[in-house]
């Protein structure tokens, strides 16, 4: 009988914690267009798979009247569950409990589930919805943040770490998501900044809305902090499920292999790329023509769209794609594009995902703003990331590869395993116009009709140098291929790279130009 009584008491106690901040606070959360922390977890995870831990953790703060306050779960829900059968660790900050503010015990619940994820080698997904540090706890809150950042760093490259911002995430709180691999944001709901609009107005007198300062769109398009942008919470949580299905769940594994499927995108590869080198096209069409069922999960779609990164499957195996996008800024490399690609390459390398690079590279973006923003330092990140990566690395040059960009886009010289080029590609130190202007300067100057002479010399240069055969003659390109052969050859290259064994000198770690 006592056991029965205890069970009933337990159920009541649990039910109380599950009410979070209470009915009123939950109604307020709904009025803001937000789901509750618990509803989010239940939607994200497979039905009946969520198991919660540390429900009865209590804060220990005694100052500022906190001793009178009971905070359900200390404002965060932690646990384990599965996504399409794959085990994951999760936490969700509960905004209905004291604004989801982070105190020491709240943080310790998070670090405990993070430790668990790292030990069990499963992904960790954090749902952020918090007003920030719990001011009443003072240094305790700061300690909590620091302990989370430390674990984010320890887990980096070992298990995938995913953050979704479903509410405010300000001050120190932003740095945990920033340290994780993928950040998901939702229009009108996500807010991230170091100093909020109030501080900026007090200090500077500048008025700006939360949305314009650090809303979802800003981070997806301008800062690059966010990797996935969605219109609704449901869409965002669906994106997470899809991503989890695509990537490996630890650095000791490969991504789950699916049954091979043919691409469904039926446009002929030969017709995608305009013959006029000045005309743009959408390089994602080339990716669709290569991937199983023409599926592609694009990462950071809105930020630095001049380079496209993301995941797709080829013959069932997960591949990371890096591709210049002529549709935006002619597909140049700039600070943001280099930064974006470099981090993605490092993710792929850390998690055993082969990299396929599709190259149509006009060069680096000229401009004072670029030079002063550090295009040298940022550009170097890409050289570093490609050189360092030991996963299979395959490059297909689609139309052109000029200068420093040729080297940067996974060239043979940085350790590419397979280099393919379509016929008609221009591989040269610079574009034919520029090269002819320099090499034949004297002839052009002395000609009666300078424009005609320039045009003649440009054509001469294209004929002799701006083609794949100069590079092929030196062995820098392994094969000049027909566009229609691309998928088969890339698949073959991946197949023969299955047991690739590439070593790097022993070191504690390298020093990339962060």
């Amino acid at each position: 009988m006592t056991l029965k009584k205890n069970i009933i008491a337990l159920r009541q106690k649990k039910a109380q914690v599950k009410m979070g901040g209470g009915k009123k606070a939950i109604e307020k959360q709904a009025a803001m267009g937000k789901m509750t922390a618990r509803a989010r977890l239940l939607y994200l995870l497979d039905v009946n798979s969520f198991h919660e831990y540390d429900m009865f953790v209590e804060h220990e703060e005694r100052n500022f009247g906190m001793d009178m306050k009971e905070l359900a779960g200390d404002g965060v829900i932690t646990g384990t569950g599965t996504i399409n059968g794959a085990p994951v660790c999760v936490y969700a900050q509960d905004f209905t409990v004291m604004g989801g503010s982070l105190g020491l015990k709240h943080a310790r619940k998070i670090t405990k589930i993070m430790d668990h994820a790292l030990k069990m080698k499963v992904p960790i997904i954090g749902i952020n919805d918090s007003g920030g540090a719990r001011i009443q706890e003072g240094i305790g809150a700061l300690a909590g943040y620091g302990e989370i950042f430390y674990r984010n760093t320890m887990a980096s490259g070992v298990i995938p770490q995913i953050s979704v911002i479903l509410g405010p995430c300000a001050g120190g709180a932003v740095y945990s998501p920033a340290l994780t691999d993928f950040v998901f944001v939702v229009e009108n709901i996500s807010k991230m900044f170091i100093t909020g609009p109030n501080v900026i107005e007090t200090v500077l007198g500048e008025k700006i809305s939360q949305e314009d300062l650090g809303g979802a769109r800003v981070h997806a398009e301008i800062t690059g902090n966010a990797h996935f942008y969605a219109q609704t919470e449901i869409q965002s949580l669906n994106q997470i499920k899809e991503l989890i299905g695509m990537i490996p769940h630890s650095n000791q594994k490969k991504a789950e292999k699916k049954a091979p499927k043919k691409p469904t995108f039926n446009k002929n590869l030969e017709n995608i790329i305009p013959s006029d080198p000045k005309q743009p096209y959408d390089v994602r069409d080339v990716i669709y023509a290569l991937t199983d069922e023409s599926k592609f999960i694009e990462v950071q779609e809105l930020w630095a769209p001049n380079i496209v990164i993301g995941f797709g499957r080829m013959n069932g195996e997960t591949i990371g794609f890096v591709a210049n996008q002529p549709m935006y800024l002619a597909g140049v490399l700039d600070c943001d594009a280099s930064d974006k690609a470099a981090r993605f390459i490092r993710f792929c390398d850390a998690f055993n995902i082969p990299i396929v690079t599709l190259e149509d590279m006009p060069g680096y973006l000229p401009g004072v703003d670029q030079e002063h923003a550090g295009v040298i330092r940022h550009g170097a990140k890409m050289l570093y990331a490609y050189s360092e990566a030991t996963v299979p690395k395959i490059t297909v040059i689609l139309r052109k590869a000029y200068g420093g960009g040729y080297i940067a886009m996974n060239s043979r010289h940085l350790g590419a395993d397979f280099m393919f080029a379509w016929p008609g590609t221009e591989i040269a130190v610079m574009g034919p116009e520029g090269a002819a202007n320099i090499i034949f300067r004297k002839e052009i100057m002395e000609a009666e009709d300078q424009d005609a002479m320039r045009q003649q010399k440009v054509e001469e240069y294209i004929e002799k140098f701006a083609n794949p055969f100069v590079a092929a003659a030196k062995g820098y390109i392994d094969a000049v291929i027909e566009p229609s052969e691309t998928r088969d050859l890339v698949l073959h290259a991946l197949e023969v790279s299955q047991n690739k064994d590439d070593h790097r000198p022993q070191k504690k770690h390298g020093i990339p130009p962060f």
Binding site: V203, L204, E206, E221, I222, M327, Y328, L329, D369
Partner: protein, 117 residues
């Protein structure tokens, strides 16, 4: 597709111009402005606490110009070289942004120098 192509512009990368779209961030970039040594600009946003100089005064290199409080720190802004104060664009109590021209200078002629001594 027709709508898409409307956004295409000519975009020069070295000698060749490509048809392509621009990004929001590219359109928002700040044009380069040659720095003017005769303008004392704010290096950090903050509040003007005190101004030590007057318009028309010749100030020696290293002498204090004003105090700009930023991030709870009193920054003493000094004269970069000996010159005359042409115009003061800030008042005590002003909250100012970064890169604002706080004081404009002009070359001190010899008469001014003698007067000062």
């Amino acid at each position: 597709m027709a709508k898409k192509n409307k956004d295409l512009v000519d975009f020069a990368v070295t000698a060749r111009k490509y048809r392509t779209k621009l990004t929001t961030k590219y359109n928002q970039r700040k044009p380069w402005i040659d720095p003017n040594p005769y303008e004392i600009q704010s290096i950090i946003p903050g509040t003007i606490i005190e101004v030590f100089v007057k318009e028309g005064e010749v100030v020696q290199e290293g002498d204090p110009l004003l105090i700009l409080e930023a991030m709870k720190m009193m920054n003493h802004i000094q004269m970069p070289f000996t010159a005359k104060i042409k115009k003061i664009n800030v008042n005590v109590g002003d909250k100012i942004p970064k890169d604002m021209s706080m004081i404009e200078l002009e070359a001190a002629d010899e008469d001014d120098d003698e007067e000062n001594q």
